[in-house]
Amino acid sequence: MKTKKGFKMRTLLGEHIIVAEGLEQVNFNKMISLNESAAYLWEAVEKKDSFSVDDLKDLLLAEYEVEEKIAAEDAKAIAERWIEIGIAEE
């Protein structure tokens, strides 16, 4: 999968948000709030040509002390969520 063009992650008074700022997303009228781990993942993959759910899992394992099974579940959930809200695609 890959992130869609035209989105920008920004910091708002200490919180992480994603806003549509590229012309590709001129009609996107949502704003997304990210928690710390989602922001860490987004930053790690947003410039990549493509990444997999496994890549997200490995990133989580590299940064957080979690069991591999939990990391895999979290990675899958966040990938599905990104696609559902339209900021990433297969």
Binding site: K8, E15, A20, V26, M31
Partner: protein, 293 residues
């Protein structure tokens, strides 16, 4: 001759040939007249022709009925903007802007729409040029009460002006600062100041006054009256969606974000669910004015 105007502390110059009928139509700018300066933030000249060879479309606004249509093109050395009064109508004017929006040339194609074209060109240049100067051109109606400015924000037709009218009628000591396009600026000490402007939609209210921001309030139609405070995330979305400027240009996007964040950090933001009745003004003023008692 060149006239100079100072809006929200930013001076710009407008050069219109003396014989042009527009000279007698721009009274809305008079309250903002100021002495000539050597380096205005931008200047606009009326031109017989504008060269737009090699333009490529970068942005086309949504075409809603009754609303002006704006298209923005890029050129190797600047920008072209074309506007029409509403969808389906021929374009009124063509505006060339230099890369940094400091110099503009406006070619009017439909003389009967000259004032519309001039207002649009100046609003566009003002918003784009001052985006990097902690300044926002906002879509709002603004009431002043107790020395503070209260902004009502919503898409057209929701009831911003209506809520202002309710304050004028039911909240003693209120007056209208602007009914459509006030200017909001984060000052050097970090406080947010709200300025009147020569642009006010359909209501002729062109006051050269400014006040510290009291609150930014989103207006939402409902079957009851209730007001609640927005969190930072909701407040950012409100300010973001109510400000002009070209977020799709990376530099302007960075500048606008910095200003949005400062506004959200310094000003209370609310959402008002309301009916168009006197009780709505009682509910909003009860909460908003109380903050400063």
């Amino acid at each position: 001759m060149t006239n100079y105007y100072k809006v929200a502390g930013h001076v710009f110059g407008v050069e219109i040939p003396d014989a042009n009928p527009l000279c007698s139509q721009i009274s809305q700018y008079e309250p903002f007249t100021c002495p000539a300066v050597d380096s205005p933030v931008f200047s606009l000249v009326l031109a017989d022709s504008v060269n737009d060879e090699g333009k490529s479309l970068v942005y086309s606004g949504s075409e809603e009925s009754g609303e002006p249509v704006i298209r923005l093109y890029s050129l190797p050395d600047g920008w072209i903007s074309e506007v029409a009064i509403c969808p389906g109508r021929p374009i009124s004017s063509r505006l060339y802007m230099s890369k940094d929006f400091s110099a503009g040339r406006l070619q009017i194609l439909r003389p009967s729409e000259s004032l519309f074209a001039l207002n649009n060109a100046l609003m566009l240049m003002f918003a784009f040029r001052t985006a990097g100067m902690s300044t926002l051109e906002m879509h709002a109606s603004v009431i002043v009460n107790g020395g503070r400015a209260y902004l009502w924000l919503a898409t057209s037709g929701t009831g911003k002006s209506t809520h202002s009218s309710l304050w004028l009628k039911h909240v003693p000591g209120s007056h209208l600062l602007n009914d459509d396009n006030p200017i909001v600026r984060v000052m050097e000490d970090g406080h947010v100041e709200v300025f009147g402007s020569p642009w006010s939609g359909k209501t002729p209210c062109y006051r050269n006054e400014h006040y510290p921001a009291g609150a930014f309030t989103r207006i939402r139609r409902a079957d009851h009256n209730a007001i609640s405070r927005l969190n930072n995330f909701e407040a950012y979305a409100l300010i973001y969606s109510s400000s002009s400027g070209f977020k799709f240009d990376p530099h302007m996007g960075d500048d606008l974000h910095a200003t949005f964040e400062k506004v959200v950090g310094a000003s209370p933001c609310f959402v008002l669910d309301c009916l168009p009745d006197a009780d709505a003004a009682r509910v909003s003023s009860g909460t908003l004015l109380k903050m400063y008692e």
